[in-house]
């Protein structure tokens, strides 16, 4: 049984409070030949500057930025090293310092965390976080192989060359251990793709049925195509500030609490560990479950997500996530990874994850709806942008701007689409606090961010 060092469990304490004031993104598509990569990032950046009711002009904000954190998943996809320099130059932000951040699927979250550290340390008081991915230069199977190089090249990549095959064994194991039916998994795909219908930027919106999901083509058993996110071209950005700058720029800033966790790249290398308990869990609560499953996190759960939530809840003073969070945006790259995360972040105790869906808590109008943005399944996974775009979606919910950013005709026009007749305003009434999870590998890196209304 692996235990954790006392010092390793110290809760992060930032020297200065951190705030998020604005977000922007491009429409998300499979194929985006109209724009070069830097042009896509400019679209997201300008939306952030111009459309978030900021109290300074775009030029004044540009003149206030001192640091940039840039997220990009894979040089393979861009076929360009040092993209950060090209983007930074294109945005006209020299000579301010930038860092390129790479942590697989959690790259976007990691970029936000990196930007937050720059604010918290006092290095900067106004930080641009931007991320991108252009996964449309190669065909889907080549893209699948590129992504699978984020598994261990010596011991895993050759075993499938597609990432769904590294999650699928977890899905089978989870189903057997925790009594998860395929129908519950399929409901997540139906839910998130359905919410994507109201997102003008969504790549894969659709009103599907459980039957359609289960009848869709098999990727790696038991995961079907409709249970897997797609590859996307697009970009996203958010603006972080210290307290003084946040209120100078915005009447509706949100305070940010954020931490990250990590675990082995190879799932196989996970040894049995103690479970770091969330504030709403009791010592001994999992003794029976551990006796039955034999090991934690096994293939059922993610230490990295648990560790990130363990820290972030303590930073934010959250005792009961389901009661205190008004919405969450989870990393639903696959239906199974979405479900696994419910236990890791305490929306349900371990072993009872499917109930978060079956109870209705996860739906709009439920106790703590998830992925009203459409998530990765319905809207996008332009990897380096994903965790940044999720943050923007949570920010807009807490600011009460869901309808502004999803319902206005101008966004539908920008995306080259007609606003659908069945558009729903998915604004959570009186949302005060939301969480987002950015997740990499088969749980190698996970960030947990919480945005809280601060006005």
């Amino acid at each position: 049984m692996i235990t954790f060092g006392k010092g390793n469990l110290r809760v992060p304490k930032w020297s200065k409070r951190v705030f998020m004031v604005a977000g922007g993104c491009t429409p998300f598509r499979k194929y985006f030949p109209e724009y070069k990569l830097e042009e896509l990032v400019m679209i997201a950046y300008k939306m952030m500057l111009e459309d978030n009711a900021l109290k300074l002009s775009p030029k004044e904000i540009k003149d206030s930025i001192q640091y940039c954190a840039y997220g990009e998943f894979a040089d393979h996809f861009q076929d360009q090293l040092l993209c950060e320099a090209k983007i930074h130059d294109y945005l006209g932000l020299e000579p301010m310092w930038n860092n390129g951040i790479k942590t697989g699927g959690a790259t976007g979250g990691a970029a936000v965390l990196n930007g937050a550290m720059a604010i918290a340390s006092g290095y900067a008081n106004c930080v641009l976080v931007a991320g991108w991915e252009r996964m449309d230069e190669v065909d889907t199977r080549t893209g699948n192989f590129y992504i699978a190089t984020a598994a261990c090249k010596d011991f895993e990549t050759r075993m499938g060359r597609i990432y769904s095959s590294y999650y699928a064994p977890m899905a089978n194991r989870f189903a057997e251990q925790y009594n998860l039916s395929e129908v519950t998994r399929a409901k997540i795909a139906v839910k998130n793709r359905g919410y994507a219908v109201s997102n003008p930027n969504a790549q894969q919106p659709g009103r599907h049925t459980v039957e359609e999901v289960l009848a869709s083509r098999m990727s790696a058993y038991p995961l079907r195509f409709l249970e897997c996110c797609a590859m996307t071209a697009g970009a996203a950005s958010v603006l972080l500030c210290d307290e003084e700058m946040a209120y100078k720029l915005s009447d509706t800033p949100c305070e940010l609490f954020m931490a990250g966790g990590t675990h082995t790249l190879r799932v196989a290398d996970r040894r049995p560990m103690e479970i770091p308990l969330l504030p709403n869990e009791e010592p001994g609560q999992y003794d029976k479950l551990l006796a039955e499953s034999g090991r934690w996190p096994g293939f059922e759960s993610f230490l990295a997500a648990r560790f990130a939530a363990y820290m972030a809840y303590r930073m934010a003073g959250i005792k009961d996530p389901l009661e205190e969070l008004d919405l969450v945006e989870l990393h639903d790259a696959f239906t199974i990874s979405d479900i696994q995360t419910y236990g890791d972040i305490g929306l349900r105790p371990y072993g009872q994850e499917p109930d978060y869906i079956e109870s209705g808590d996860a739906y709009f109008g439920g106790k703590c709806p998830s992925n009203l943005s459409g998530g990765l399944l319905g809207t996008m996974h332009a990897v380096g942008a994903t965790g940044i775009w999720q943050a923007a979606e949570v920010l807009w919910q807490v600011q009460g701007k869901y309808d502004h950013f999803h319902g206005l005709d101008r966004w539908w026009k920008r995306a080259g689409k007609q606003k659908p007749a069945d558009y729903e305003n998915l604004q959570v009434p009186n949302a005060k606090q939301g969480l987002w999870i950015s997740h990499a590998g088969v749980g190698s890196h996970v960030t947990c961010g919480i945005l809280r209304k601060a006005w």
Binding site: E156, G160, R161, R173, A220, Y221, V267, R270, F299
Partner: protein
């Protein structure tokens, strides 16, 4: 001292013009990429060599001061708990299925004919779980399996080991 070439030059284009897809909105060009890497197995070389000799080798931390003294498969040369150098041990080439999946749609360059079963194997005395593929049969969680090795015409990759049901 080396000097710049000073003779007569006639500079020629010797590349291959790119195929053009003239989309209505933008030009898109087909940009071929092809490369080879010389990848080392480093200190794990005995593991891959072992497969070609029909042996399943793991590494074990034998440092008496190590809090865990884990046995690693995949092997690692350095113990992450105490940073001691690990030692090679041969482990049983049999185990039980812990999890599995069937590969259907695969990424480009796959070397196995799909569909096929990928399995994760628990091995007695090993602290980790080992990923492989099932040569024949149908996986069930807990099913005993034994390893087979590609000792003839080895691939020199992890694909030199596979598994079959033990009662086969």
């Amino acid at each position: 001292m080396a000097q710049p070439f000073e003779g007569p030059l006639s500079t020629e284009y010797i590349g291959t013009p790119l195929d053009l897809f003239d989309d209505e909105k933008a030009w898109v060009v087909k940009w071929p990429r092809s490369m080879e890497h010389h990848h080392t197995y480093g200190m794990l070389t005995p593991f891959f060599k072992g497969l070609t000799e029909g042996k399943l080798l793991a590494t074990k931390c034998v440092n008496p001061k190590c809090p865990h003294k884990s046995t690693w498969l995949p092997p690692r040369a350095d113990c992450p708990d105490c940073y001691a150098r690990t030692e090679w041990v041969q482990v049983p080439s049999e185990g039980k299925i812990y999890a599995y999946t069937m590969l259907d749609y695969t990424g480009i360059g796959i070397e196995m004919k799909a569909p096929y079963w990928q399995i994760d194997v628990e091995i007695k005395g090993v602290d980790t779980i080992f990923k492989g593929f099932l040569l024949r049969g149908k996986p069930v969680t807990g099913l005993p399996v034994k390893a087979m090795f590609r000792t003839k015409n080895p691939t020199h990759t992890i694909l030199d080991i596979c598994w079959v049901p033990k009662e086969d």
